[in-house]
Structures are given as structure tokens and as C-alpha cells.
Assembly symmetry: D2
């Protein structure tokens, strides 16, 4: 097959499914396979992935294992949080935002190795295939993408296991049966979907939640924390400066302890169907609340309303996989421009599943007690101005009223 | 003064401030005063308002006391909730949505009585003056509006009390001192602002919250309820059909008990300044979560995303006082069109300040387990379609990639 | 092939290409073919299509020929013009708006005949396949769509002609060679693309324009016409009431004579590539100018700006083929709501390629000479109101100025 | 009057009206007056303004006369044209875009001189007062603004002339009577409004147009020109490089000669009323057409549609006077980001009032003949991809169709 890939970079987790893919690529296409395994904070050891790859015959120089946590948070998560991005009113985009970075590294590694293709383990029904591939095509228009789940005939659990056994791929005991749901995790969130979650009319079982304690089990006393922002990004917790990934890791621990960031959602996939997911975004949920809190005093109304207005579109672009698109970059330029003064500290109360802003302070504050006070304002504001303001705002409506009276005799 | 009002309809609460206004209108303008007192669910008896008005010399036929709760919820609150409207990411618009109805009745009563003016007790710094007046001008372009707080010289507490005493207006003991904050309430929410809340860097004192228990004092066991919607509006709780105002009253009680719906916010007023408010919207917060929940399965993606996109603008229009404007009505037509199938039942978990959707069911559901399942889907969806879908979605980005490669040699 | 169509409704023009498709459907699938030929104002006789279909063996009861001009203009073109819809700043959507109606009739005829499929002659590179098919799937989710150009191996002109000859399909002499460009026409417009137009750096040859005289050849004297609107739709020209299709036909003649409505455009197709087209929309161009003219005096600012804001999205939906989608219907509800008072008469000057509004009159006008006049306005407007209006509009910017001065010492 | 200005910078044209204002400021407030006269390309000599100011007693060091044409075009006009900004579908914002620059210089000169106020000659009914003052307040929150037309009692022509005579202000003969309409001009446009134009149902008299020949008098032969862009701005005409102001001046001459850029419009003022204006924007109209032409081949669809979507809001901000606002700057960041590759050359045909793009060329072109061709495309595009693309785009609509069939038995 002239179109067959010769050298493929595979997004490799070390788990059973991507090990099968690895082998399938070798047998189906006879191509050289390069593995790429990234630490995005999913909370798994990476060493086993190296050993597994070696065992499957990958040469050491073809095994790439990288800790991308700082880059992930600094260049993807934080820019997105500057926008207060939520998809469909609720979802913090934890899976969506990780995909472009993985594709970027896949393509870069392919270019280093002179590989002509990349491969991923996402299915043909989901969003992740779209995100991986659109990002890859944007970064290298000539790259081939192999998506085995859309191609092969290993369409049942039984056939997958047969293939694994026939190819000496070790199968962990707990992988013999089917998982009751499937999971994706990174430093920002854990998502669960499928199987036991497929009926949106049934409450998700408790055991689905893995990253946060049940609010009922959270401490009976609230905890207060202070998050400090500089130009829209969190840089310190309770006064202690931290790197990007460290801030998010710390917020995850606060959130986990207090049962914060759980979401049970039916969402609309880009491929056209609805799906039900359970998300846990402990640190991200706290961060969103805090970022809104600091914007409340540092962001002008015009800037804030413009951000609110374009946010759904920005979130949709990320959800649909268009991180590396001109329009996402244009919106990012708009958002980043707004964050110049989003600097200051927010105090939050964490309690039983909720993170609430209770106070905020900033040298860059636009809040003017002199203007708003019910007390004597020493001339900061002339209440009589309001009469003219109202009359001219109402003028066009008065003209409508006059017109309507005139034509309805 | 030829421009002086001859007959004025006053929005009259029966409290000290509007009683002073009543007297001031009589003395300043020598005009006839008609009082209008509405029950919007603020939780106060209206009989005292009648007695107080009579005592201040208002003739019985000039005293209007009305229970507007059903109209308020049915024609204002529920249409707004169809839009999932929140202002600046957080505020459920509890005060904003009540003002147009009050203005509507003020203008209608003025027309019945041949009055040439209306009057209200809102200050010159806030949003409410704008909302009252824009609505009034839209409904009757010729109406005069008297806003005593922008006109008179009773600019200190001392002078107000002196005026009251000089005019035999009774002063309740607890009104001698100044309230530590000011309150507005109706069936949808209670808002508190001013005085002790003026420093947004200070946490709001516990005693500010009046309508909900502290989450820490809420039951240690979660409670589950089911809300049934028809065409976007809630019509039953736990299977029991209820009128509009009754649904909201019942949800308020659930919310109160579980400490749900508290918000501490710095917001941007239409008149140009930032202000800090504490809001309690117990039933509304539950309703918003439930409405989003039922939309998740009954609303198409295109419809839902369009609603998300125009929502901030719709909320801003209500916040700014433009309920009776063509553009609000146009947006309402768009929103209402989307709600035809928003019918079904949502199950929520209420616990310690949080209301979370845990399940939803609808005959109108667009969720297709056949399409989304990880299991065999019997041909509902051909995964190979995704390849073409992705490639054509990526095509323009590939062309950009090619262009960029071409011009950067 | 179990998936093969049994009975197919074909969008049939009577031309060579769709005659080949007809035969190919019969031979490839052995299926019964029903033809549908619509008069959308493309300016061709339909009788030959009937004869041709009969000659190709279609039974008389399977031949559908319909005059859809009134429905086309009334239910598709005019609703779209209420929105002042233009795609990418220029294109009046003449082809896009015709496709949904054709699909609607194809699906309805399929249902009448118990057919399981429809077929069209659009290629795999263009927008029309998308428009035909999305509309069809929306109206009948179970329908099959056959798009021969994406399936067959008749991929060159030579092979097409061989197939035609082998199947006794008559070939008109002027169809032996390849056309220098391809054309689509209906009552709203004529579009030309391909071949001689493929280089956007080359000016389109004069002979491409077929529907309008060259502006240089248009009359040396301008002509003035008056168009009367009711609720946003044109109902009379120069005082003479006309049906929808008759109005558009008359405007086309005015436009043709004065060389109005030519457009040379490079546009972005939904499938991801850019294409260059030449459009002639004589009547539509006049209509758009006139509709804007009548809206200028009858539409409120809030309504008009909201329409302007959502227009690009509405146009994109139509361009991309989503006429029968919830979001298009929601936007239509918004637009139609705005047109209640768009009633009145516009006077236009037509001259050498340009249609310009020169005067407008309406009983529903919101224009108030009393307010705008430089002369004495008898108190309609108090100029002092403007000071307060400006000061409160500027307040937030002043607070920014103060903040910036404070933090930059 | 403690609030009275001590030193005022006046926007001074040298004409009768601003000379009266100058004198009135001196007599009313007894303040020192500094004059500022700018050449924005309005086509008037500035020397007379100096002499007039001197004659009215202004000290030489208090007279500022500046040629701002390059700054005006480079920093205001061109950034705006990058957005293809038009207000209400038609107006190229020629007056709006000049005001912020004048305010900027007024404020800067005030700061140099330690002046506490600025003054302008705009009336209390128009947009210009808003634009001048919002810009001034944004740049210097402490500045006072004197708007004599809102303050004084010189409310009739007779009284103005009396004041002029009483104060030895020379009155040109042609200023004795009232002008039949009022004019504003700069390098971008000339606007005319008032008096003879106040009835929008009457065609504007020919003599109103001053800057362009009547299309009927324009050359009978079309003229072709080529405009070259770099990053969204025009830099050369017919291959000849020019400065910003020189390009616009040259385009104005082309436009003037061919009668291009006339507009008769009823627009919505920010202060709430409709007004009728006649605009002539010869060079700007050509520039807008050309900029759209070059964007057609160099701008990606996602980028272009996002620009189209936010354009009305951007234009409204400029129209309303919010050039110096965070949201305008945010939108500018978005727009500028899009223009990186908007580089190339557009060929236009100018004839009898129309400027039409007929060809475009760019090294940065995204147009791919290989993809779009009807001929063999050598595998650039696989038409079969379209089937999957369409099916997944239609999937949600199919699910709606299924739902609707299910619930309507």
C-alpha cells in the first residue's frame, strides 16, 4: 500500500489499549513505531510505559517520555482560564485543553525523526480524535494520522484480548473484564464516561468519583485560602509564590479535600451526538471562582462584558479542537489584552463542595468607595447627572411609544 | 412651576422613606398623591401600608394594594429563566426583573387616574432609578417621573428624621439609627448592599444573610427533589403541579433550608460605578441548575449554543432596565422559540449550599444511547464518517500551514 | 447490495449531466427513478425536461414538474432579506437559499411515492451537496442520499460522453466541448464559477455576465423607482401591488437594464476551501438597498443593531445549508419580530450599476424632525440632558484613568 | 464661581462660531484661552485661524496649529479600516474617527499649559459632544469640559450675530444668512446635515454634494487602479509607495473624479434620535472595497467570520465615542492579530460611482486552485470525505427529526 505510513509516532500511555495499537501498527503497516508518553499530571508513573515499550520492541531512541506539566498549565490551562471559559454553561474543558499540547509534541517528534505519521487511541465517536487530528493537521499539513479505532476490525473486547494474547502483550488481571466506565485524567481534571454512565436518567454511582471526596465526607469546618493573581494568572496561594503547575497541584488538593468541582453533565459533542460525562475539576473550579473574583474589582465593565460575550465561542473552539486556529488566537489576543490589570488577591471560603469568593483586594482596583457610598461622597458623583443619562437612554423608546400611539388610533 | 406634577402615583412601601417622599410630594408640589403598594413576595404585610397611607391623608380610592406574585413569576421571572440569564457570570437579576412590573402598574394606574407623573424612592446612584424610569418612559412617553432623592435637600439621615418629625410621620424605634445595610426583597431574591458591605476586601458579616441558613447550619443529609418542566417553565415539584408563584415559593423553602443561593459580588452598575452586593436567591439558584439540566437532554446543540451566545446581552438588557425594548422582545422571541421541547423532569441533590443535577428524564430527549454507546451500536453511527468530517474541518488550517511554510523560506 | 436504494427521487434539470445521472442510477442500482424538476425562475423551459425524462423511460406518474417561484420568493427569499443577509460582506446567497426548497420537495415526493432515497447532481467539492443533504436529513432522518459525483468513476468529460453515447442519451452539440464555466440560476441570481474564473488574479471575461447589461452599456439617464414594504417584505413597485415572485421579477428587469448587482468574489466554502465566483443578483441588490432604506426610518436603534450583530451568523447558517435547523428558526423568530413596523416606501435611483436610496417615507417612521432639528425644537429635547448622559457614560473610563494614574507613579 | 475654568484649551477652527465661543469663554468665565487648530485634511487654510486668534487677543504662545494628517490616517483611519468598519450597514465613520485625535491633542495641550478645561463647539443634540468629551475624560479624568452650546443663551442666529457684533468679531458676508446645511470635513470624508436635509422623504439637493462629481458627470470610461496592502494597510497605488495620508489623498482624488462614495443615510445617534446625513467618502469607499478584496484571498474563513461578527460592535464603539476604551482596544488587538498576512495587491475598476474589485494577487494567498478546480486535482481533495463531513454535520438534525417523529404520533 503506497499510502501506508513508514514511521509513526504513537501517543502511548503504556496501557493495554495503546499497547495493542502499537503492535497493530507494526503488524498492519510494517512500520517503525516511535512512542510518546507525556506526564500531564494524570497521576500515573511513566516508567512502566518505557519498560512496556521496550518489551514491545521499541528501540530506546524511539521512546519519548516527557514531563509537560509546567508547559501544560502555563501555556494552555492558564490562558484558557483568563477567559473564564466554560462549555455549555458548566464544563471546564479539562480534556479538551490537553489534546493540542499532545498533538504538538507528536508532530514535533515526527519532524525530528522524519516520521510521516502519528497515531492515537481515540475512538471514532468522540471529540478527542477531532482535537488530536485538527491540531496535527494545522501544525503539519502533510502529516498522516492513523486512528486504529476507526480502521481495524478489533471491534469487541474479546477480539482485542485475542489480539493481545496472540501478540504476547501482557494483560493485567483487572483488564480482563471490561471497565465499568472509561477515564481520562490530567492535572486539570478527571473525566469519566460510558457504560454505567450511559443512562442520563440514572444518578452516577459514588464510585465513579475518584479525585474528590464526597462533600458529605468533607471537613465540617470551612477553610479559607487566598489566591494572588498577576495579569490574570494565579501566582501564589496564601502568600506563597508557586510555579504554574504547582499552583494547580495545590489547588487540586484543596479542592479534593473539600469535595469541590464535581459535575454531572450531558453535553453536545462536536461529532453531533449528546454524551453524558462526570467531571472532577477540583483546582480548576476554585481557580475559576477566584479569577472571576479578582476580575470583579480590576476589570472595567466594557472589558468584562466583551469577555463574557465572546467566551462561549472561545470555549467552543477549544472544545471542538481548534486551539491552533487563527480565530482562537485572535480571541486570545483580545482576552490577554484585558488582563493587564487583573492583579490582586482573592479570599475564598471552601466548604462541602463549594468555593465562594468572600473578599478581594487589589492595587489595581477600579472599585471606588467614594462613588458608591450611601454616605456623603464629597462631590465624587452628581446624582443629577442621572436624570439626563436616563432621559437620553429612554429617548428612542419614547419615540417608539409615540409612534405606536400614532398608528393605533 | 408650570412643569410641576399635578397628580402623582407613588411606589409606596409603607416604610419611613417612602412615607417621607409621600409627604414631600404633597408639600413640595402641592399635588394629589396616589399610592401603589405591590406584593411581589417581599415577605411583608401590606395592610400596614394601607393604614399608613390613610394616616398620611391619602383618600381610599387613591390607595392601590395588589398581589402581583403570580404575574411577577409567570410573566417576568420565568421568561428570564428560560434564557439561563446571569449578569456578569453570577447575578440572577432578582432586583432587576421586578422593576419593570412595578413601573408597568404605576403607569397603568396613572392612566386610570389621569395622573401626569409617577414617583419612586430609588437614589440617584443606583440602577433602580434607571429601570423604573426607562420602563415608564417606554410605556408612556408623556409621563413625568419624580425621583425625590435626586431633587430634594434631605441629604442626611438627620434632615430626613427632622422632616419626618415636622410632618408627623411616625418613626419606628429601629429606624432612628441608620441600618447597617440596605435591603431589597421579592419572591426571587433578597439583596443587601451599602454601609457594612462597602469594603469589598472585607468579608460580609453573617447577619447580612437573612433568607437562607448558613450552609454550616444546613442539614447534614442531602435532600433530593424532582422538578418538572413544560416548554421551559417549571410546573411541578416531586410530581405535584403548582402555579408559577407557588413553585418558586416552594423552591425558596428548599433553598433556604439547605443554604443555597448565596452570592457575594462586586458588579458594574449601568451608571458607571462598581458596587458590592450580597444576594440570596435560594429558589432561583435551584431553578437555574434544573433548567440547565433539562436543556442538556432536550435542547439541540445549535439552539443551546445560540442561547449561550446571546445570553450575556439579554441579561445586560434586563440589568440596565430595557425590559420593554424591541431588542429584549426580539431576544425573547428567539429564546421562547427554543423552549418548545424543553419538557421533562430533573432530579437534584441539595446539600450544604449546593444544588446539583444528578439525573434527567424527558420524552423529548435528544440523547441517543444508541449513538453514544461504547458497545455495539447496531450501525447507528459509522465511525469512518469521522475521518472525512475531520479532514474537511481541518482543510482550511492545512491551507494556512502550507501558506506559512511557503512564505517563510 | 442490501444497502442499495430501491426507489430514488432525482433532482432533474433535463440537462445532459442529470440525464446521465438518471441512467446511471438505473444501471448502477437497478432502481426505479422518479424525476423532480422545479421552476425556481432559472429562465428555462420545463417541458423539454418532461420529454427527456419520458424518453429515458420514466413513467409519466413518476415525473414531477412544478412551478415553485412564488413559494421560493415568499417563504425563502423574503424571510432572508428581512435580515439583510450577506455572506462575507458581499454575497446575497442566491444559490444557498434555493437548495432547502428543492430538498424539501424531493423528500416530500419521496414520502408520497414510498421512495427510500433522493439523488442530486452536485459535486463533492462544493457547498450544494451539503445544503441538499443536510436539509434532506433534517426533514427525513431515514432518507438515503445518492450523490453520484462522489461515487461514480465517470471522472472525466470523455468518460461522461462515452457513458451518454453508450446509453442513448442525446448530447446537444454545444455540450460536446466543455463549458468555459459552470452556471447556476434562479429567480434571485445567476452564479458562474470554474474554468476561466479559477484564477482570482485574472479579471472575469465580459461574456461571463449573462443576466445584467454592462454598466457601460446601461442607460445614460438614471431611473427612479419606489418600492413599498409591508412588515419587511416588498409588496408594490411604483404603487402597483404585486405578488412576491412578481416583485422580484420586476426588480430583476430594472437591475438588468441598469447593470446592477454584479459581484466578483473569492469566498470561503463550508468544505474548507476558497473559491472564486461571479454573481449577478440584479433585483436582490436593489431590494437589499431598499430594505435597508425603509429600516432606517422604521427600525429602532436597539432592534437594528441587534439585527446587524446576528446577521453574519444567520447568513452563515444559510450558506452552510442549515436552513432547517433550530438555530436558524430561532434567529428568524428574532428577525421577524423586528419587522412589525417595517412598512413604508423607499425611493431609489438606479444608474450605471448602482442602486441608491434617495428618500423614504413611512407612517411608522421613528424619525422625529422635532428632535433632530437645528432650529428651535419647542422643548422636545433638553440639551442639558446630554451633560449627564456623557458624564455617566464616561464614569467608568474616568475610574480607569484614575487607577492608571495611581499605579504608575 | 469656584467651579469656573481658569485656563481653557479651545478646539478652534477660525470660523465665526468658534470665534464667538472664544470670546464668550473670555467674557463668561474671564479665563485664559488657548486655541488649538488642527489640519485633519478638511481642505481649509490654517493661517487665517492664527490671524483670527491673534486678533481676538490670544497670545502667540497660546496658539497651537498642527498638521495631524499623517497621524490621523496612520493611527486612526487605517486601524479602523482593518476592521472593515461600517456603522448601520453603510456609514464609514468619517466624523467619528476624527474626534478622539482632536480630544487627545486638546488634553495634551491642556497638560502642557496647566489648563484645567477644554472647550468645543459641538451642539447638545449630536454625537460629537459625546465623542469629544468621553475621549477627554478617558485621557484626563480631572479635566473640565465646556460645551457652550449646552450652556449659553445665544440660542438663535440673531443673538449669535448680535454677540459677535458687540464683541468686534468680524462676520464674513456669507455668514450673515444661515447656511442651508452644516458641514464637517476631514481627509476621510465630508458630512452634511441639517436644514434642507431634515426631511428624509425629500431627495438631497445636488448642491449638497461638494466632494465628488455627480456620477452622471463622471468619465464615460472606467479607470483601473491597483492598491497594494501590507499587513492590512494600503501602502502603494499602481506600484508607487506612499505615506498613509498620501495614499488616502490620492484615493480621494480617484473617488472624486468617478463620483464614488456618496451616501444618503438616516442613522441612529447615540443620544437617542434619528438624523439624516449625506456623506461623501471617496477614498475610503475605494479603500474598503480593496481591503475586502485582499482579505478574500489572504484571510482564513475562521478569522474572517470572527471579524465580520464583531465588526458592528467595533463600529458602534467608534460611532459612540469609545475609541479610548478597553473594549475598543481589545477588539483592535483581535483585529490587528488577523492582519499579519493581509498583504498583496487588488485591482479595482472605478466607474460612475462604483468601485469594484476585479482581481487580487498575493504571495500570502490561501486560495488553492489545486483544491477548487473542476479539473483533475491530483489528489489534493478526496470527494468522499464530504460524505462523512455532511453526515456528522447533519447528525444532530437527524436526532431532532427522530425525536419529533417519536413525540408526534
Amino acid at each position: 500500500m503506497s499510502d501506508a505510513p513508514k514511521k509513526v509516532v504513537l501517543a502511548y500511555s503504556g496501557g493495554l489499549d495503546t499497547s495493542i495499537i502499537l503492535k497493530w501498527l507494526q503488524t498492519e503497516y510494517g512500520c517503525e513505531v516511535i512512542t510518546f508518553t507525556a506526564d500531564l499530571g494524570q497521576g500515573e508513573e511513566l516508567d512502566p510505559a518505557r519498560k512496556k515499550a521496550e518489551m514491545l520492541g521499541i528501540r530506546p531512541e524511539n521512546i519519548h517520555i516527557e514531563d509537560l506539566r509546567e508547559e501544560f498549565v502555563r501555556d494552555f490551562v492558564f490562558p484558557m482560564f483568563r477567559a473564564n471559559a466554560v462549555y455549555e454553561g458548566c464544563y471546564l474543558l479539562g480534556t479538551s485543553i490537553a489534546r493540542p499540547l499532545i498533538s504538538k509534541r507528536l508532530v514535533e517528534i515526527a519532524q525530528e525523526h522524519g516520521a510521516d505519521a502519528i497515531a492515537h487511541g481515540a475512538t471514532g465517536k468522540g471529540n478527542d480524535q477531532v482535537r488530536f487530528e485538527i491540531a496535527a493537521y494545522a501544525l503539519d499539513p502533510a502529516i498522516k494520522v492513523i486512528a486504529p479505532w476507526r480502521e481495524w476490525d478489533l471491534t469487541s473486547r474479546t477480539r482485542l484480548l485475542e489480539f493481545a494474547e496472540a501478540n504476547q502483550i501482557p494483560i493485567a488481571k483487572d483488564k480482563r473484564g471490561e471497565a465499568p466506565f472509561s477515564v481520562d485524567a490530567n492535572l486539570l481534571h478527571t473525566s469519566s464516561e460510558g457504560k454505567v454512565l450511559e443512562d442520563p436518567g440514572e444518578e452516577a454511582p459514588d464510585y465513579v468519583y475518584q479525585r474528590t471526596v464526597h462533600p458529605e465526607d468533607a471537613p465540617d469546618q470551612p477553610e479559607f485560602i487566598e489566591i494572588t493573581f498577576e495579569k490574570g494568572d494565579p501566582v501564589a496561594i496564601n502568600g506563597e509564590a508557586m510555579s504554574a503547575a504547582t499552583v494547580l497541584t495545590a489547588l487540586n488538593e484543596y479542592g479534593r479535600r473539600h469535595g469541590i468541582g464535581r459535575l454531572d453533565l450531558v453535553e453536545n459533542r462536536f461529532v453531533g451526538m449528546k454524551s453524558r460525562g462526570v467531571y472532577e475539576t477540583p483546582g480548576g473550579t476554585i481557580l475559576l471562582e477566584a479569577h472571576r473574583g479578582i476580575e470583579q474589582i480590576t476589570l472595567d465593565r466594557g472589558a468584562g462584558h466583551l469577555k463574557d460575550q465572546i467566551m462561549p465561542q472561545y470555549a467552543e473552539l477549544i472544545y471542538n479542537g481548534f486551539w491552533f486556529s487563527p480565530e482562537r488566537e485572535m480571541l486570545q489576543a483580545l482576552i490577554d489584552k484585558s488582563q493587564e490589570h487583573v492583579t490582586g488577591t482573592v479570599r475564598l471560603k471552601l466548604y462541602k463542595g463549594l468555593a465562594r469568593t468572600v473578599a478581594r483586594h487589589s492595587e489595581h482596583s477600579l472599585y471606588s468607595e467614594a462613588h458608591v457610598t450611601f454616605e456623603d461622597d464629597a462631590g465624587a458623583y452628581d446624582q443629577k447627572d442621572a436624570a439626563g443619562f436616563i432621559r437620553l437612554n429612554a429617548l428612542r423608546l419614547k419615540l417608539i411609544g409615540n409612534r405606536n400611539a400614532r398608528i393605533k388610533p
